[in-house]
């Protein structure tokens, strides 16, 4: 700790900061633009000027930029000094020379950092009387608007996009007062993190295009703390609603998880909540009728009473994208013996393996933030950019941190962005990527290795052997593999925080075991190792921990006539198993009840469909890939017949005379039963902040105190103002009224503070810049390393049989846009998703780019255009996962190419 003096008063601050960080952490209002907590300081905008004095006797002082000045022991500054204040106001006046008077029509208005800083400096009169410079705007794709006239040249956009996120197609162009930030030509920005520009840009240059389609001012949004549902990382979000429609999703800072950023799938994938494909009423489909008819609730309950009368013949299929509560409710209804996990075969085994590893092994699951702090990382099999995008963003930070370590040897702090980048020229970090095909992250890796999943597993075992030859000798190892394994092993051993990353992407449990071996060996050698398991969906881990039989057994049970009724919770089985098998089950079961919010292929074949609430309409608990339980709160009340899945299941249970749900009036009641029944979930009890709030009803408002239209909104129905809908499941209220002081961190519904209308207000919510939120990190980890360690390793499984001469090994290729079902309902995401293709190596490819080929795999034929993927191993092919129009296949599998377009024509 060091002492600095501000206006003559002494303050103690953490060592190693710059003056801007110190002042903001202390709660002072000092304006800035180009500094950003994640991007560090560059000193370009000159907005944060303060007066610094040599000592107490120095009355004159000199202006320094707070962001570039270390807050060293004994530093004396004045923020209120007249010359400094005038200079800061002058900077705003300079920026306003070219800034258009767009506020009334600018999307950023009301949450604009430039507005806030302008008011903060007191500038109000422009003396400039000449024309403003103007720019052409570009079409940058479906996610971002581009309005360059508003630019204040803070350079944050390119520093985030290019320097931090590794994107190459957004750059600073031209010079002097013509500086332009844009793309070499119109077209969608390529980086998967482009949407963060919306929050990085302090003005309205880059704004959310999806919001613009249904625009609402920030102060008019109803918001709540939520969790992203589009992958297994569980990034924290703040979705915003108005008039019953979700308008946008913004980042919600979590020190251990997502930090300041989201990926584009998480930011723009929310339109499924507003989709016309939503199921909004209970529907019944009688035999032979294609179009289902709406049911009243009474009809539903009557039917339930009949169908569920014989519990022994009812099974339930849970979902990795449904909440813990809904899955538990289904399990309670059917009983643990008749509860099935709605997962593909490979996901089932991979997740079971993964859970076992986390629970039994000596190495903890890495937090997402921890991934960025690793100084050596070994990725085995997972294309993280596509399956756990924000993990890739954090891995891209390894380069910077490596340079920062070198820079500290020259007394250069980590926040001095330009100096850190210069001093070590951003040498590649100890990142090793082994995947079946080249990935976007490869450009960051020291070494890459492409091979079939079995051979990747073999590499994993080779690394274990290099780490501990006695524990795992591999005498027959090929030299080239041994050299690579030795290098990886040495780097991991030399590191202070080695990390092993794997996941379900290759559909190969042995690969996950091989990765675990490496992590465990490092842990057993007293290294601070961590293990990151990537899982496909927002509650994959939750469902796996809950138990439940594999889906095949469910299919078998129906096939063998042991089952009358199948209840499917928020799941499209056609994404889990092959078409014929699912068709058969849905055809043979007497009653198929689907509870879901989207019209899926499964729902289209159901006899009864009940409208489930999405994450936006029901408070729910999800378990992310590190085993962190997080609660996402409903943003808006569920309309009409829509209910949380567990509430529908409760109604069914009550109607059927099942007593299990009698006490579940609120979420808390169900949670109490859940943890009693399954102790592994005990920590979720801590998710509920036991807080006594002083004002009306003791609730925190979801609406800002400037929310408008409250009385007019429903005046067409009834001129009297209705009571706000009650919410029994959350300490939040669908109203403006309530406690308006600082909420506990898990209940932060909007990032706002007096004078700080933009997301930059976050600095008021953090205990220190870049630190946890005041009140601590939210969520609760369920799994910590086992107390005892038997020292064993997973055995190596024999390699798969070599495929035939004309066969390729077909592996799944994941896409951030396309592989995840819910986000595809957003037009922007569907636009960015590829059309189905077959990826092949350009070497000895049987067809040219875009030529169609016919193939045979798993006994079925496919017809696809070819995409040549340089780096793809020669005897392998890749098929994109989850795209519309591509049926589910059990991959990896052998595939034969039967013929090409050319051959066909001949």
């Amino acid at each position: 700790m060091v002492t600095i003096y501000i206006e003559g008063e002494a303050y103690t601050v953490k060592e190693g900061q710059n003056l801007l960080q110190a002042c903001l952490s202390l709660g002072f209002d000092l304006p800035y633009f180009c500094w950003h907590p994640a991007l560090g300081s560059v000193g370009a905008c000159r907005q944060c000027a303060v007066k610094r004095f040599k000592d107490e006797k120095d009355l004159r002082g000199e202006l320094v930029m707070a962001c570039m000045t270390p807050a060293g022991d004994g530093t004396r500054i004045s923020i209120n000094d007249a010359e400094a204040a005038k200079f800061r106001a002058g900077v705003i006046e300079w920026l306003m020379i070219n800034h258009p008077h767009d506020c009334p029509i600018c999307d950023e208005g009301g949450e604009c950092h430039l507005q806030d800083m302008t008011v903060m400096t007191g500038h109000n009169y422009r003396h400039y009387r000449f024309p403003k410079r103007t720019h052409h705007n570009q079409d940058l794709g479906p996610f971002l608007n581009h309005e360059m006239n508003r630019c204040i040249q803070c350079y944050r956009c390119v520093r985030f996009y290019h320097d931090y996120a590794g994107g190459s197609d957004l750059n600073a162009l031209a010079s002097h007062d013509h500086v332009y930030f844009g793309r070499f030509e119109n077209g969608p920005l390529e980086s998967e993190f482009s949407g963060n520009l919306v929050e990085i840009c302090p003005t309205g240059v880059f704004t959310d295009k999806s919001l613009k389609a249904h625009f609402t001012r920030k102060w008019d949004l109803q918001t709540a703390p939520s969790v992203c549902v589009h992958c297994g990382l569980g990034c924290n979000t703040i979705p915003g609603e108005r008039y019953g429609k979700l308008r946008r999703v913004r980042n919600r800072y979590h020190h251990q998880v997502n930090g300041y950023f989201l990926c584009d799938r998480g930011r723009y994938g929310y339109e499924f909540v507003n989709s016309t494909q939503r199921i909004r009423h209970p529907l019944q489909r009688t035999a032979g009728e294609a179009i289902p008819i709406p049911m009243t609730e009474k009809e539903v309950l009557d039917l339930a009473g009949t169908i569920l009368a014989d519990p022994g013949k009812v099974i339930g299929i849970g979902s990795p994208r449904a909440s813990l509560e809904s899955n538990f409710a289904l399990r309670t209804l059917v009983g643990p013996d008749r509860f099935y996990a709605g997962l593909s075969d490979s996901d089932f085994s991979c997740l079971a393996t993964g859970c076992n590893i986390l629970q039994k092994g000596p190495v903890p699951a890495s937090t997402l933030q921890g991934v960025g702090l690793a100084d050596a990382a070994f990725i085995l099999g997972e294309d993280v950019t596509q399956t756990a995008p924000l993990m890739a963003l954090n891995l891209r930070r390894m380069r910077y941190r490596k340079s920062a370590r070198i820079a500290s040897g020259f007394q250069l702090p980590e926040w001095n962005d330009a100096a850190v980048r210069e001093i070590a020229q951003l040498q590649k970090p100890a990142l090793f990527i082994a995947t079946p095909y080249p990935t976007r992250l490869d450009e960051e890796a020291l070494r890459t290795f492409y091979a079939a999943p079995d051979d990747l597993a073999r590499l994993g075992f080779a690394v274990l052997s290099a780490l501990d030859p006695e524990a795992f000798p591999m005498p027959d190892l090929k030299d080239s593999l041994r050299v690579l394994a030795d290098e990886i092993a040495q780097a991991l051993l030399d590191a202070k925080r080695p990390l092993v990353i794997t996941g379900t992407a290759c559909s190969h449990p042995a690969l996950i075991e091989a990765a675990a071996n490496v992590a465990w060996c490092l842990g057993r050698k007293a290294r601070a190792a961590a293990f990151a398991l990537c899982v496909p969906e927002c509650n994959s881990l939750g469902l796996s921990l809950m138990g439940g039989h594999d889906l095949n057994s469910a299919f078998q049970a129906v096939r063998e006539g042991r089952v009358d009724t199948v209840i499917i919770l928020e799941n499209d089985l056609y994404r889990r198993a092959d078409t014929e098998t699912v068709d058969a089950m849905l055809r043979n079961a007497r009653h198929v009840i689907v509870i879901d919010h989207q019209q899926t292929a499964t729902a289209a074949k159901a006899h009864v469909v009940l409208p489930a609430a999405t994450f936006a309409e029901a408070t729910s608990t999800l378990i992310n890939n590190e085993g962190r339980a997080q609660r996402g709160y409903a943003v808006m009340p569920a309309e009409g017949q829509i209910r949380a899945g567990w509430r529908w299941l409760r109604k069914l249970m009550n109607a059927a005379g099942h007593i299990g749900a009698r006490s579940w009036f609120r979420l808390e009641d169900l949670a109490a039963d859940l943890v009693k029944d399954m102790p592994v979930f005990q920590p979720i009890v801590g998710l509920d902040p036991k807080v006594d709030l002083p004002t009306p009803g003791g609730k925190i408002p979801r609406q800002s105190h400037r929310y408008t239209g409250r009385t007019a909104m429903h005046a067409d129905i009834d001129v009297s103002e209705p009571k706000p809908p009650a919410d029994e499941d959350a300490p939040l209220a669908f109203t403006m009224e309530g406690y308006d002081g600082p909420p506990p961190p898990e209940l932060i519904s909007r990032i706002w503070a007096p004078g700080w209308n933009s997301e930059q207000a976050l600095n008021k919510f953090q205990s220190e810049i870049n630190g946890p939120l005041r009140g601590g990190d939210t969520g609760r980890r369920l799994i910590e390393p086992a107390a005892s360690d038997d020292g064993r390793y997973f055995a190596m499984t024999p390699p798969a049989a070599l495929s035939g001469e004309d066969e390729y090994l077909l592996v799944p290729i994941h896409h951030i846009f396309g592989s995840e079902a819910l986000s595809m309902a957003s037009p922007g995401i569907a636009q960015r998703a590829p059309r189905p293709y077959l990826a092949l190596s350009p070497e000895n490819a049987p067809a040219k780019e875009n030529e169609r080929v016919r193939l045979r795999v798993n006994g079925r034929s496919l017809d696809l255009p070819v995409k040549l993927l340089p780096g793809m191993p020669v005897r392998m092919a890749g098929l994109p996962v989850g795209l519309p129009g591509l049926a589910k296949l059990a991959l990896p599998a052998a595939v034969k190419i039967l013929g090409t377009e050319k051959n066909k024509k001949e």
């Binding site: 560059v42 000193g43 370009a44 905008c45 000159r46 907005q47 000027a49 000199e62 202006l63 320094v64 570039m68 200079f87 002058g90 900077v91 300079w94 920026l95 020379i97 070219n98 003396h127 400039y128 000449f130 204040i152 040249q153 350079y155 600073a172 031209a174 010079s175 002097h176 007062d177 013509h178 500086v179 020259f410 250069l412 001095n416 330009a418 100096a419 210069e422 001093i423 070590a424 020229q425």
Partner: protein, 424 residues
């Protein structure tokens, strides 16, 4: 009077080839440095000579070299970069030296690189100096062929590779750290200091950085000694200086003179005084980013300290002479247009402030000024100073403006009130 820098330069500026240069005594300084002196002894000699940087800042060259980490543990490779991006308007001294005697520069480079133990050197040359570029290329080839560049120079064990880099052409590249960024292929935007280039320079490695004219002095200092070098000068700063004069003088040009001659001597004795019918009204003593001096200052000495005391700077030492029939407002408008255009666009005061002042001056020049414009111009000269901006470009741009407002505010008032240029 000794003129070491220009002694080899012919009237038609045709360069000496290597044999001619050697015949005139060239590469003797190199020989002495590499075979008789240790690197830090070379630095000590340069320090003793009181050679101050000729690029405009006037920092002690020997002291600058001493900041480069030496010894086996120093990061490597180390670099020497020569600033040949002479773009300060009114300046043409480095051009003269490079076109007329390229080997003098090369010899100085090798000695300087030896002093700091740099293994790679770059000459960063402004694009417009095509002739200088060709002559340097030729001279470098000759030097390699003779073994003055490359491996094991003169059997000393010292290796040096020298590259000529021709820039894309921007004024800001004359700024030390922006030049380094440009050389690295990045946008030509300056760097914040600390860290300083001798420690963290080109590619993050220790880098010595000097102006062309500065380096051209080095071989002579080594050959003839620091005392001789100090004695060339009229003032404590050592050496001779290439002075120049442009504007409506009888004989515009460049001359090597003892450091510290007066403005009057340069103007009247060497430049031949003003053309017929004209009087001197003002001088920009060291290139256009220096404060104006007036006819009252003709007896001030052109050295670093004397210039500073008079309220200006020596800068590059090539003066722009302004006659009494040239409009000061027009001059400032021209200058500010240049500076505004050359702003790199990184920091707010320069990017926006220079453009604003440029537009004000244009308006005044076109008879559309307002009296309040003078206050806005003055405010800019107060707000845009060193430390308030990211580099020295904008503060340099303010120097002619603030001095014009000090000495010639009436010109501005007349333009505004009469709504026309009173000089035409």
């Amino acid at each position: 009077m000794e003129s070491p820098l220009t002694q080899n330069i012919r009237p038609d500026i045709s360069p000496l080839n290597l044999p001619e240069y050697e015949k005139a005594g060239g590469y003797q300084g190199l020989r002495k440095a590499l075979t008789q002196l240790a690197p830090d002894e070379v630095t000590a000699l340069v320090l003793e000579s009181n050679l101050r940087g000729r690029g405009g800042a006037g920092f002690s060259t020997g002291r600058k070299w001493s900041f480069v980490p030496m010894g086996d543990d120093a990061p490597r490779p180390k670099y020497l970069v020569i600033n040949a991006d002479e773009m300060e308007p009114g300046t043409f001294k480095d051009r003269l030296l490079m076109e007329g005697d390229p080997h003098q520069l090369i010899e100085g480079i090798i000695i300087a690189a030896y002093a700091v133990q740099a293994g790679i050197a770059y000459i960063f040359l402004r694009r417009a100096y095509v002739t200088a570029g060709q002559r340097l290329e030729t001279a470098i080839k000759e030097a390699y062929a003779k073994g003055y560049l490359g491996q094991n120079i003169l059997g000393s064990g010292f290796n040096l590779d020298l590259y000529l880099h021709v820039s894309a052409g921007r004024y800001i590249c004359g700024e030390e750290t922006a030049l380094l960024n440009a050389l690295e292929g990045k946008r030509a935007v300056p760097r914040a200091k600390p860290p300083f280039p001798p420690v963290v320079g080109l590619w993050g490695k220790p880098t010595a950085f000097n102006n062309v004219e500065t380096i051209c002095n080095v071989s002579h200092i080594i050959r003839l000694g620091p005392a001789w070098f100090r004695d060339l000068s009229h003032v404590p700063d050592g050496g001779s200086k290439i002075y120049g004069a442009s504007g409506k003088v009888r004989r515009p040009g460049a001359w090597e003179l003892p450091m510290g001659v007066t403005i009057r001597e340069i103007l009247e004795e060497h430049a031949g005084g003003m053309q017929d019918g004209l009087e001197v009204r003002a001088i920009l003593p060291g290139g256009v980013s220096t404060d104006l001096l007036t006819a009252k200052h003709l007896d001030v000495r052109m050295d670093f300290n004397s210039m500073q005391e008079a309220g200006s700077r020596l800068g590059t030492g090539t003066m722009v002479v302004i006659d009494d029939r040239t409009c000061i407002v027009g001059l400032l408008s021209n200058l500010m247009h240049f500076f505004a255009q050359e702003s790199c666009g990184w920091c707010t005061p320069c990017r926006e402030g220079l453009a604003w002042t440029s537009r004000i001056l244009k308006a005044i020049e076109q008879g559309q000024g307002k009296l309040e414009d003078i206050e806005h111009l003055k405010r800019h000269t107060r707000l845009i100073t060193l430390g308030h901006t990211f580099c020295a470009l904008a503060p340099g741009a303010m120097e002619p403006l603030q001095s014009a407002l000090t000495y010639f505010e009436d010109d501005f008032r007349r333009h505004i009130l009469e709504r026309r240029c009173p000089w035409r």
